[in-house]
Amino acid sequence: MKEIKKGIVELEGRGATRKLGLEIANALEPGDVVALVGELGTGKTALTGYIAEGLGIKEEVVSPTFTIVKLYEEGRIPLAHFDIYRLGGSEELLDVGAGEIIGGRYASVIEWADIAADILPADSLLVHLSYGEGEDERRAEIL
């Protein structure tokens, strides 16, 4: 992964979330993992959508909560979008075949990554999303 600025970013509205998503997309290389952590409604799927946009994926990114993973092949780098909200732990993530996807030719974005933190690569980009002051504001902590 190319260098990306670490620290806290205040996201005041969708435009700021998009800017962060495009920036992350720009830094991604095959095999990279973006681990998204944050409560319901803090914008994990939205951020993933902007990362996909930055990779040149035209298809709409919808929440894959029920299928756990959705693969997008059309971008600069193919994207694997995981949403592991329903899973009980890393073993179940491996059961859905994640072992063959993560670290391979795909860049992976994993929502609710804390559920399977023990099997994620040590160099994963961790983005912690939380609510900001106002209703449309979010905070991203990049680690």
């Binding site: 319901l40 409604g41 799927t45 919808v62 929440s63 029920f66 993973v69 693969l71 059961d95 609510y131």
Partner: protein, 338 residues
């Protein structure tokens, strides 16, 4: 007993359920086995559903055998084999596809790969013996919220879908936040009956004029903001009112768009499909709004609304009648579109 009817064996393993069924002439359910029903007593109780593909592997042979036994036919009596090849979890889909290919090869019978979502729509052919296309279909489930214009048995076009969360997913997430547990859809439905749907106003999201797409992510955020501000103010939260108000905001938009789509494409029937089709308020509101325009609402029984293999068998039968065949190179396609 084998008679002159065309018997289709359907196999479905796209997500949580391992299922097999035998359907005669695409319309008559001879058997319909869903594995989670067998051990429903041990499985039920707020747990995250088992999604491991090895569970499908452990069960698939028994489930198929049970389907044949229940239908009182032998494997050699089967004329056609239909199987879900997407969308779904890749490891889960592969088990069903491998089983179907093996049986088709061993029995020397045609194989049809079925799109799971087409199967949900076909569930209505099992419920309503006289139903023929064209009609408008509303497919609502944990993973889907789609409006589909069905022009023939093997022809349909998705005219709108969710841009973020599916309706069932939104119900599941809000149910968890207000402490109702899993599965969220039925629990929200039940709690909502005790609540006031006008207690809290959540803004309806209709997107652009004329769009049949949905967005429920913002609604989810509205509900979370409401819960946070109430908690911060130290006010007690009425779970039933939240459930009723949230559900109303979801189903009202769905009902409005489905009726608009039926009117635009001049369809006199809206055929519901998928697990969320069992939501009582969605059906009630849809019937109310449709009745104003003389549109009829059809919905399969709850057993046929959930993931099952009878619907896959029916869809396979009609695909077969329309001349479709799958080869032994049939593969699972997890992200299969409509």
């Amino acid at each position: 007993m084998k008679d002159d009817r065309l018997l289709t064996l359907g196999i479905e393993t796209s997500c949580d359920e391992t299922a097999a069924a035998v359907v005669a002439d695409g319309r008559i359910v001879m058997s319909n086995i869903i594995s989670s029903q067998i051990d429903i007593h041990t499985q039920y109780g707020g747990v995250v559903p088992e999604i491991a593909s090895r569970k499908h592997l452990e069960r698939i042979n028994d489930v198929i055998q049970n389907a044949l036994n229940d239908a009182e036919v032998r494997a050699s009596d089967i004329d056609l084999i239909g199987v879900t090849y997407g969308p779904g979890l890749v490891g889960a889909l592969l088990i069903g596809v491998a089983a179907a290919k093996t049986m088709a090869y061993a029995l020397d019978k045609p194989l049809i790969g079925v799109n799971h979502m087409h199967g949900h729509i076909a569930a209505n052919y099992l419920e309503y013996q006289e139903l023929d296309p064209p009609f408008m279909s509303l497919v609502v489930s944990g993973g889907h919220t789609e409006i589909v214009n069905v022009t023939d048995y093997n022809k349909c076009e998705k005219i709108g879908g969710t841009r973020d969360d599916a309706a069932g997913e939104a119900f599941d997430k809000i149910a968890r936040v207000i402490g109702l547990g899993y599965p969220g859809g039925p629990k929200i439905d039940r709690a909502a009956r005790e609540g006031d749907r006008n207690a809290i106003h959540f803004k309806r999201v209709y997107l652009e004029e004329g769009s049949y797409d949905f967005s429920f992510s913002g609604l989810k955020t509205q509900a979370l903001n409401y819960l946070n501000s109430e908690r911060q103010a130290g006010r007690e939260i009425n779970t039933n009112d939240v459930a009723a108000s949230f559900q109303e905001a979801v189903v009202e938009v769905i009902a409005d768009k489905a009726v608009s789509a039926a009117l635009e494409f001049k369809r006199n029937k809206i055929v519901m499909a998928g697990g969320v089709a069992s939501n009582t308020r969605l059906r009630e509101l849809l019937e109310e709004k449709a009745a104003e325009h003389g549109i009829e609402i059809l919905k399969p029984s709850p057993l046929l609304c959930t993931d099952n293999a009878a619907m896959i068998a029916s869809a396979a039968y009609y695909a077969y009648r329309c001349g479709e065949r799958s080869g032994f190179d049939l593969d699972a396609v997890p992200g299969l579109e409509f």
